[in-house]
């Protein structure tokens, strides 16, 4: 199970997308009968994530399809704005989440 609040938020977004794409996969012949299971898993995840982070996520969701953006070479891949280099060092600090200075998306460093 993911450890940090940021990892849990990433999982939360991944599961939302999975539910969204379920129908297309069903058309390919995959067995997709467990939507309810996944919806329940989503609720459980929401309960595990701190309320303030879920609130931030939901607020961003009204503006962006995917509120969490990956970062590559210090660039937010949601809006392509350059981020301060110092952000990366703080990226895995569980006491805070880092958001893009330009678009406000939650940032996630893949490496």
């Amino acid at each position: 199970m993911p450890k940090s609040q940021l990892e849990l938020l990433v999982l939360y977004q991944d599961v939302q997308l999975m539910l969204h794409e379920a129908e297309e996969q069903e058309n390919m012949g995959f067995q997709v009968e467990g939507r309810k299971n996944l919806e329940n898993a989503l609720k459980e995840l929401a309960d595990t994530i701190q309320t303030r982070y879920i609130r931030t996520y939901d607020r961003l969701k009204t503006r962006h399809t995917r509120p969490i953006a990956p970062v590559s070479n210090d660039v937010c891949l949601g809006c392509f704005a350059k981020q301060p280099t110092s952000y990366k060092a703080r990226a895995w600090d569980d006491k805070q989440i880092i958001t893009c200075e330009h678009c406000g998306r939650i940032l996630y460093w893949i490496y």
Binding site: M1, P2, K3, E7, V10, L11, Q13, D14, V15, L17, M18, L19, E21, A22, E24, Q25, M28, G29, F30, Q31, V32, E33, G34, R35, N37, L38, A41, R66, I68, P70, S72, L77, Y108, W109, I110, Y111
Partner: protein, 153 residues
Amino acid sequence: MHLNELIGYFREEFFLPALQSEGKEALLEEMVEPLLEHEVIKNKRVILETLKKRETLGSTGIGYGVAIPHCRTLAVADVQIVIGRSTKGVSYEALDGEPVHLFFLIVAPPQEKSNLYLPILGKLVEILRDESFRKQLQSIDTFDAFKNILLGE
């Protein structure tokens, strides 16, 4: 999607001809390991959890000894495919209840420029429905032999 295009996504370092795992969870972990070794992912936690969540939606064991575990996750920057084979078979809760011998694990980022995740998934399902192709795959041990079968050589 053309077969040649699909082959471009296969990498020798992500070809595992002798999987050791016997159960689903261990199998997923074994298949994700090379992604960590080759620094495609930072850690295995998010990707494994997303793959497991996908299995709760319905098994990706599509029958006739084949499984295509897959998910989109922010944990990867590009589409990655890991191919695995288990000679003894893995208990994977496949649609037909049979053990699974061939695995194609696909992970893709949520947003990708070329949007190839679903076409790749669809193409794999299509080629793996061919029984003679599946039988040939069971008998090979090297990545080159695998590619030659795909190319019909």
